[in-house]
């Protein structure tokens, strides 16, 4: 004979202990706060949920739990609307080996009724839900992560070889505000690698050309065009408007300026540089990890450091390294994974090999060590090798 819904529910109640709303509220204030998983459907969640709860609709619970709860002993409280679906969900987790699962008696309805705080989430529009569906399906991103990206602001220095692919992917990913700093215009010789521009925009400002491409790709992105060269008079104000900076500059003075300004404003810097077949990438997290000057305390003289314009660069190398920058930026914005902070990634396109070097904070670093006197200097003169003159920092 078939078991009725009531029978199944009664069986579940015998296996899964229930927790009362008042007890959960107290636990959430304590240091032993359990992980709360809300198994209701999207439209129910959108109308409000317990603060800090994670949303996993009942139908996806078994497939998505791995990205959310990893330890079988960790305390988990499941809630639904009234306390029935959460019991059945509890049985599933119990069968998967989770040993500390409880079901919230009365569910979110009783939580709300009893006057406890709840959060009404900002949500993706139906269009956004479709556009970013492949992101939302990744447990580490989810709708919450996608909303975070839409709320993020990234500043790109340079809309050239590195800036083209990184801006392109950040825009596609739905980073809500992208600032583009570039004072240059599109030249025919750029199009072999700077894929965000096009033939009909030769002669146009690069930042403006990139804005047009991004707006054609994703209407969610607001592009701020900064058609000037970043220098010590404008860099701090610029950086303060953004969550992180992607360094796609093509010269040493700008790279050292960005490093100092990132330290002053405590803005994370996603670094990459390229030449011929070789690319470098890292992440500089101010005062938490090494900075660019821990890695390269002094710039090479100009004759020892050819630029891409002289030495050449493989077009697709820009795509690889710029994409790595976009990847690291997205991870930092979402607070997931391990970034390249403390590591220098070296890519050799000719041998198709990746190498990693360790970078440590230099206790003597002239920029970020405890005793360092961090001030802007005349970066152009310093990088041109005029040491005597440039050792004295100039103030902004």
């Amino acid at each position: 004979m078939a078991r009725s819904y009531q029978d199944v529910l009664a069986g579940a109640r015998e296996r899964i202990p229930e927790i009362q709303v008042s007890e959960l509220a107290e636990l959430l204030e304590s240091e032993d706060a359990p992980l709360v998983i809300d198994v209701r459907e999207q439209d129910e969640w959108d109308e409000g949920h317990i603060p800090d709860a994670r949303h996993v609709p009942r139908g996806f619970l078994e497939s998505r739990i791995a990205g959310i709860a990893d330890e079988l002993d960790a305390p988990i409280v499941i809630n639904c609307a009234g306390g029935a679906r959460s019991l059945l969900a509890g049985v599933s987790l119990d069968e998967m080996g989770f040993r500390n699962v409880k079901s919230l008696a009365g569910g979110f309805s009783r939580w709300k009724q009893d006057g406890h705080d709840y959060t009404v989430p900002s949500t993706l529009t139906p269009d956004q839900r479709a556009r970013y569906s492949r992101h939302v399906r990744i447990p580490e991103v989810g709708e919450e992560g996608q909303l975070k990206l839409l709320d993020s602001k990234v500043l790109l220095i340079g809309a050239g070889g590195l800036g083209s692919p990184s801006a392109y992917y950040l825009a596609a990913a739905g980073v809500g505000t992208i600032g583009l700093v570039d004072d240059d215009v599109v030249d025919a010789s750029n199009l072999q690698r700077q894929i965000i521009h096009s033939n009909d925009r030769v002669g146009a400002l690069k930042a403006e050309s990139a804005r047009q491409t991004i707006e054609g790709l994703n209407p969610d992105v607001s592009v701020k065009v900064h058609p000037f060269r970043v220098d010590q008079t404008n860099v701090l104000e610029l950086m303060n408007e953004y969550d992180l900076v992607v360094d796609g500059a093509d010269n040493f003075p700008t790279r050292y300026l960005l490093n100092d300004a990132a330290l002053m404003t405590r803005t994370p810097l996603v670094h990459a540089s390229i030449l011929r077949f070789e690319g470098h990438a890292s992440v500089f997290h101010p005062y938490e990890g090494p900075c660019y000057r821990c890695l390269f305390p002094e710039p090479p003289p100009p004759d020892m450091a050819p630029a891409c314009g002289e030495a050449g660069v493989l077009g697709v190398l820009c795509g690889v390294m710029g994409s790595i920058q976009a990847n690291e930026a997205i991870k930092m914005l979402l607070g997931m994974g391990d970034t390249l902070a403390g590591r220098l990634l070296i890519y050799d396109a000719l041998s198709m090999s990746f190498n990693e070097l360790r970078i440590r904070r230099d206790p003597e670093c002239p920029a970020c060590s405890d005793g360092a006197k961090l001030e802007f200097r005349d970066y152009e003169a310093w990088c041109a090798g005029e040491r005597g003159h440039a050792e004295a920092p100039v103030s902004a």
Partner: protein, 82 residues
């Protein structure tokens, strides 16, 4: 740029029991490298980084850092291209 100074090779094998000895032997075998790595007074340029395996020799014993048979030394000049 360094590769051109050693005849286009990506890796060269050089004997030596310290970083300094390896570099001296490298200069003997490929004199063009010397000017790129050293200043006129014989000091390693500050803008050249030298790694033993994956660690910066500045964090080890600098040029006196001992080197054994299978170690890899990497010479890394800064690049600015973007």
């Amino acid at each position: 740029m360094l590769r051109q100074a050693v005849g286009g090779e990506r890796e060269v094998e050089v004997p030596g029991s310290t970083v300094a000895e390896v570099l001296d032997n490298l200069y003997d075998a490929h004199p063009a490298v010397k000017a790129q790595l050293q200043s006129e007074d014989g000091e390693l340029h500050r803008f050249v980084n030298v790694y033993l395996n994956d660690e910066d020799v500045r964090m080890l014993s600098w040029l006196d850092t001992p080197v054994s048979d299978r170690d890899r030394i990497l010479i890394l000049p800064a690049m600015a291209g973007g």
